[in-house]
Subunit: 362 residues, 4 copies
């Protein structure tokens, strides 16, 4: 296992879906940052299963518990340990199928890698639940980034093939909470919700695309050649279960453009160097160029589906039918958006520290 | 700068496009591996500009020079230092435009990040030329991977919007060298070549998509939750200049699938656990599942184009016209394929060492 | 802060002396290791203040609490989080002197480094109490090392200038628990105890020397040139508060020897290559040579003393008198020995994994 | 192998004693630092064998060669690669005894660790010659440290049991170059030189003690709890071949002091917080306290001696006599002092960057 991320703002994840807790240790958070439980809880609530068609029915209070590193409402410079205690755990749901690998899940790879000793209860370390730790750490990173004026939004741009229309950052910011899908295009959101409802009805699931935006970044984030802004961010985003693709700016679309179309012309605006277009998505040579950072993330449909699937019983080494019971999201895209924000915050915070934009003591 | 990649097979890049050399130090290569100059040269030759429409006209012998770590045809366990000496350097080509940021290049971000002290000659550290170091290191990684039966191919699947047809791994392997574009679909390759010729005629450039495949991997490569096979590979691939997107298996396409379509059913074949489809692209939970690893990489069109572009003169802080002279590729996709192979080799080698599939001494 | 140690067996420390808990996350412990609460508690008990002259009067149950990574009595391959909850905390003891830097403590350096935001209660992160986390992690490392036959003992060889006589490893092992000072020389221990009692009487404190021994190691532990067995071990040992010196084998004494005296002649014994003397202390070129690893650690006298001391009131920026109240050890050497064992275990375990002596799955 | 040191100022060593070169890559040196070949050569010359009794007779021009990362007399922010090419190599000296492990050398441990594939010529990677790379990197670190007013001196305080008298920093600085032994006590130096001459006459060798001093440091260098100033420095110093012990301030002597004697009373001097004594050696809680950093390093006698020694022929697996020919230092202590300075510079520079005392761009 390799459960740490970041070089100067270093996050170590621990805990399991059906163990005692899910947690995180942040090492390298500068001393003096004002932060309290509510700041962390606010982010954690974003990844709560919404009370809608899209959500799991597992009920977790998911209260952020500060275990170390914060005193009198400020970080002390010591490691910040944050935890969410597991309460609504029904491990029995998983016992009966523990020898049957669920398609699309890490059951098989985990079983082989850990020689059968891995925690199989609810996906163990491979459950989306461990992202609660990422999000708590992300909340601290966001507070740090606020001190240099960096904000981050991740919104749903596609679910089940239904795409949202393109919108300005201001529109996205205004509309993102107008529905439970974190989709700024209200009309598209209605269609997405219907598609989710239909998928639930037939015991199936849907995927989609999340777009993350940091509209204002200093020029100079990213450490070439191997700790580039795009590379580090991609690595962090692939740590979200179900992510299958990451692209920046025009992304895969740029592969079909000519150089004369794809190159963003440089110009000056109010004394600031800008580009007239943003096909680069805010990153050139692995370094932020001061234009909005734009990253898109492909989220596969939730592998846990109610409908019967063919799979393998590893003890009998023969095919079998599996109907997954328990509580599962039909579509995790809106919840993934909260985690995308967290991974962006963690990466940007680490790179901002590395580039000297955030001081060691606030 | 952050010029090292990998944890146990650790590669440190150095050198500049128009400095004295481009090189790499490999730390962690097990002792006793048989390797000689020809093994390294063979890989290096793959990224040479082909003598075709697609290529730059810069002529570099690009001979791999072994500086340390190999004695009597075997690695010694000491750091392996490999270099390519720069010879055909015409820095003057770049002097006259050194104050004019080239669109789509890292000139602007590099200028700000290094406060004007960065090496601006031919892109300096941001030139594609430094990937010669990656490829030499990749050659050593490949030799190590051969000892556990892992092979890697990266081929061109799209250039300028022209897509190659889908083919089996065997066909790809057979046809990849049938043309200079590293495209296994011979007919598509003819069209791609024509498109490149046309782009050259009008002073423009083309992008495309490279697909990397490792057909046979042991189950268990990848260290969750933050050193996953997909995440580490994505990070390595984004270190290739011009890469704007990375996806695995069905990738962005999976976002439009239902769970019942996207889940790969598990089965048994000759006593080996397989999946009947491979939408996962060989990676589940960040760990290889024994199916072919399939990754696709979006390469943007070469930013250096002959046609006039609008950009900024940073000394006058005003817009200006730029016509890039010097020697440039119209389409780097085929050369990028060689680097994709190298980055895959480096990542797989590191993860194979971490998972204990390769011993410390061969 | 930089609170992680080790590369493959990676330990992250968190918690404070007077916060909610002291804990540790172990990342990289192979799956399948048998370990339970009692195994960890046993080590933790070694560093408990003995009920003697030497000890603090703080009473902590110090029960090891397993928070993650262990299921059904075995490690799962996931991060192992272990904690000790603070209970007997009297922060008020420290409030009244919080503006007065205690001599020999990190109060001043910590105040400057963390700009006044550091946790000042009982030394916060700088308290010896955080070594409870090191010891719990060390317990896991020891269990792993047992699987390859490695054992470790650290014993008191000097307190207050009173030196123990030289003894064989077997004698040390037999006698180490014959007294509360972890001193194998029973007669010297009596004198040491008297010296401690006298120091307590006059409100003073004593230092001493701990010797750590690993009698049997495989040849090949240590990764030159910068992760040498001696260098990594020294770094780990200096993380114990109050350590001021580290030496191996003949150590500082070797500086006064001639080459012909200091060189250990090689020989063969029962088919195994040995050296006839062990001035090297088991390490040559930074690599274990199969002879007993012998390291000695200088422990300064506890800086907290009851007698009045001159120091600085940092608010008034003038000298003042300080009489430290609260509960303090007169001599921490015997407790330090438990931590020396832990740091040795952590370092040897990490290097054993790196050299391939311990497999990823047990 | 693990050939990198430092986190932000990261040095990677490569090369062998009798290979083509000895070199180093520095990753993380801020852009804009003024440095030229002469700056590096000056440090390199310090570790040259003095033309005296103490020295080896190997003659190497040892010219520093700048391969990358410096342009127009300033660092560019790219990796700085520096090399010394081997010229005066007589590998044949070593061929005839290649199966005979030299006592006190790493021949045996290296042979086992690298399964016989290690470079055995003149100690290969284990030769003191690779410290030429450390010293070149140290030269760059010193230039960086100069920008914040940090200077470093390492001087010989003991050779062959002959101790130099205690002196002030100013005296040491004034006298250190008054003799070839880097000993500030001129009278002791005469006796040391005689002892060296006598050791040479009888075919033996001598060890000694080097003291390193950084008289002025900012308060706050060192990252607890595992990247402490003392711990990181100890680790770096143990990378010097022949070092067997490291102590800070009163060091092992503090183990014999009472707390009331060892505690350094805090006071104020010219508005600056100081301690009246410096038993701590400038480091408290792993953090610099603004007092002179004082570290002492035990250097064992050179293992290569001309006199006959008993050792092992590993092919016959039986004892044999060995008389080492070739060119060897009788006492490397003065040369080690140059390397101690380099290791101090590397460590302080890294910690200064980590604590934010040196900016990313000069």
């Amino acid at each position: 296992m390799a459960n740490s991320l970041g070089k100067l703002f270093r996050v170590t994840s621990f805990g399991e879906s059906h163990g005692r807790l899910v947690g995180v240790v942040i090492d390298g958070c500068p001393a003096g940052l004002e932060i309290n439980q509510a700041d962390i809880q606010k982010e954690l609530d974003k990844r709560k299963p919404a009370q809608t068609a899209a959500s799991t029915s597992r009920k977790e209070a998911d209260e952020a518990d500060i275990l170390s590193g914060i005193m009198n409402g400020r970080t002390t410079g010591a490691p910040v340990c944050l935890a969410v205690w597991n309460k609504d755990v029904k491990s029995a749901d998983y016992e009966e199928t523990k020898n049957i690998f669920r398609p699309g899940h890490a059951d098989f790879t985990s079983y082989i890698k850990y020689n059968g000793y891995g925690d199989y209860r609810g996906g163990g370390r491979f459950s989306g639940r461990i992202t609660a730790g990422f999000v708590m750490a992300g909340a601290v990173a966001r507070k740090l980034l606020e001190t240099i004026g960096v904000e981050i939004i991740a919104h749903t741009v596609e679910i089940g093939g239904i795409a949202a229309g393109r919108m300005s950052y201001e529109e996205i910011k205004r509309n993102i909470n107008s529905n439970l899908l974190r989709c700024a295009d209200k009309e598209a959101a209605v269609k997405m919700a219907a598609a989710i409802e239909e998928a639930r009805r037939i015991g199936d699931s849907l995927g989609g695309i999340v777009e993350g935006i940091a509209p204002v970044l200093p020029v100079g984030l990213g450490e070439p050649v191997f700790s580039r802004l795009d590379g580090e961010l991609a690595k962090a985003l692939f740590a979200i279960p179900s992510v299958k693709g990451v692209e920046f700016g025009a992304g895969f679309g740029s592969a079909r453009m000519k150089g004369s179309e794809n190159n963003d012309p440089l110009s000056v605006e109010n004394g600031r160097i800008i580009t007239k277009t943003n096909n680069a998505g805010g990153v050139l040579g692995g370094i932020s160029n001061g234009m909005p950072l734009v990253v898109r993330v492909a989220v596969k449909p939730t592998p846990s589906i109610a409908a019967a699937q063919q799979t393998l019983d590893m003890q009998k080494m023969q095919e079998t039918q599996l109907e997954i019971k328990g509580r599962h999201d039909v579509c995790i895209v809106p919840r993934a958006a909260a985690v995308v924000e967290a991974m962006m915050a963690l990466t940007l915070c680490d790179l901002a520290l590395r580039a000297g934009f955030i001081a060691e003591t606030i």
